[in-house]
């Protein structure tokens, strides 16, 4: 069966520090991969999606970037965190209509 792993579960980082969140999927190949952010009172916002290795589409202009160095690995990064980057980040994968979500990372920028 397919599983999705996302880490770390929680993270507290100072403003201006770099960020790297990792997501890996097991039990499938060539999945579509997604990064979402859940900010307080704003629901789930699609940040990036990828249909294959090295293919990244950005949904909103922001301080973050994403990379897909391997088929089942999706990384969310920032060179310098802002206070406004705080939130709950979710990774997801799908083949077709239904998506499956990781446990999420709660990021607090202080």
């Amino acid at each position: 069966s397919q599983t999705i792993h996302q880490w770390p579960a929680t993270l507290v980082q100072p403003v201006g520090s770099p960020l790297s969140l990792e997501c890996t999927v097991e039990g499938t190949s060539n999945p579509n991969l997604y990064w979402y952010r859940q900010a307080a009172g704003r629901g789930l916002q699609l940040l990036f999606y990828s249909v294959g290795i090295g293919q990244i589409s950005s949904e909103v202009p922001q301080n973050l970037s994403a990379s897909r160095p391997q088929d089942r690995q999706f990384i969310l990064s920032s060179k310098k965190l802002l206070l406004s980057d705080s939130g709950f980040y979710l990774c997801a994968w799908s083949w077709t209509e239904e998506a499956f979500f990781g446990q999420g990372t709660r990021l607090t920028v202080v």
Partner: protein, 115 residues
């Protein structure tokens, strides 16, 4: 702008009350519709989904939703809520764009059920 709207941001009910959470979307064409639930401290879970066929969809834990195409709506219902239904509920629309499926979520509804 194309969007998914959930009109109720916070709902408080007593146990055994009936629940209806509204969801409207503004996309034309073929869409897939979902309701997800996030219990406190847990990850997002699928409640139910609609792809085609019978517009009344039954999901887990006694939830159901009705797709009304003419109203662009996919409202979630439960006849009698329980304290354990306290959670945040997200409506989502999935459309095929540029060769992939993109999920667009509503802002969520926080449901609190009083024992």
């Amino acid at each position: 702008a194309q969007s998914v709207s959930q009109h109720n941001h916070h709902v408080i009910l007593s146990e055994a009350a009936s629940l209806e959470l509204g969801c409207n979307y503004s996309y034309g064409g073929t869409v897939n519709l979902f309701w997800y639930v996030q219990y406190p401290g847990q990850h997002l879970q699928l409640l139910l989904k609609y792809f085609s066929g019978d517009p009344l969809v039954k999901g887990i834990k006694g939830f159901e939703a009705e797709f009304i195409k003419s109203k662009f709506s996919f409202n979630l219902r439960k006849p009698s809520v329980q304290w354990s239904d306290t959670a945040e509920y997200f409506c989502a629309v999935n459309r095929r764009l540029s060769g992939t499926y993109k999920y667009i979520f509503g802002t969520g509804t926080r449901l609190k059920v009083l024992a």
